[in-house]
Assembly symmetry: C2
Homo-oligomer: 252 residues x 2
Amino acid sequence: MRTIKLKLAYDGTHYHGWQRQENGPTIQEHVERVVSLICNSHITVHGAGRTDAGVHAHGMTAHFKTSKGISCSKLQKGLNSLLPDAIRVISLADESPDFHARYSALSKTYYYAFFTGSIQPPHERLYRAHCPGRISADAIRSCLRIISGTHDFSSFEAAGSRDKKRADGRGAIRTIFSAELHQPNAGYLDLTFTGNGFLRHMVRNLSGTIIEVGQAKKSVLDFEQILRSKDRKQAGPTAPPHGLTLLSVNYD
Amino acid sequence: MRTIKLKLAYDGTHYHGWQRQENGPTIQEHVERVVSLICNSHITVHGAGRTDAGVHAHGMTAHFKTSKGISCSKLQKGLNSLLPDAIRVISLADESPDFHARYSALSKTYYYAFFTGSIQPPHERLYRAHCPGRISADAIRSCLRIISGTHDFSSFEAAGSRDKKRADGRGAIRTIFSAELHQPNAGYLDLTFTGNGFLRHMVRNLSGTIIEVGQAKKSVLDFEQILRSKDRKQAGPTAPPHGLTLLSVNYD
């Protein structure tokens, strides 16, 4: 039995997120359908995690098992020829049998993209949240320093998620290895987060709250207190899904 | 009576081009609707030219007449608040009464964007034609030199257009002031054309033929003969609309 690792990029605009569900088309469903078709058997594709409806990926990672003796290059070409253009297999390789897209992952990197100019270029509107106005880069950097390291991120977890038991027993405690601000051009503001895991809506809740600090609607001190409060009601709004991209899932 | 000049950017993906028509939604129709709404009268908006269904614009220019005494800044904000996100008024200003978006234009600049790598990033698929494989930049530059200057571009005019009388009497003769190749990154290939006018499908037919020369499916000599033949049947395919963007309309 082979274990195949896939790296996927997708435009999440028209999908109901990664995970298979009955409400509408998902990335997992599309990928499973074409993998099963090419491998001639019903195959489950395991992702490194979920992405919400409308969230994009440059480097989602997944794996599946098959006994099909097809070269990786042919498999990749076959999958890309059957998948919609909005979903691409960026790379594909055999892995050791104990590789698991989710459990073998050491960290994930997300970025949240804002456009802060007054008029957003139409061709970027699906990939960048529009948040016009003056922003203090210093205030944002202060927030990013505050969340770096290991914290209880309950304040930034999706409402309702706290009641659910978490299988891994680590509660809402996560470690952010790096949190950075990039401003490639005037009006462009990207927040990049690398961590050992992210709670549901955590990156969007962090981004929605941090941008409010950048806009001086909240102070850096407020932000620090929000994190410490472990109370979702204290934090700012959930930034919209289309500004979020899963950049990479990082392995050993 | 005021003459208002508009600069518009749009994502043409879901529109049937610039010009008002009955088959489906167009950019002109949307802009006229909101201009008429804000100015409280039925207003015709004149564009600098047409763009085909699926073609984008960073700088389409248009004008309209109104006696409404509203500031340009308020008018622009009002239009942008009513227009779909895919259509933005980039700038808006009063012009002299004899300004006409089409007749006052000295030149237009279009660019045609190709992606030549094997796997196209999903978030660029709506704005860049996928044309995988090795491309000779030198061959492309030779074609661009050949078309620069004043020529009869009948070979690159949409089939069927030749029968139509042209009001301005210049037939298929156009002047290309500049034609350039840009390769910002590996796999990215942009052709930029500035000219005093472009026949129907001319940029797409030029781009579809030039890329075939780049791929060595045709020689530079073939290309020169195609231009001289004044015969549309000699040229290559019409490149798809989504790779084309009207970059600017240039005035005095």
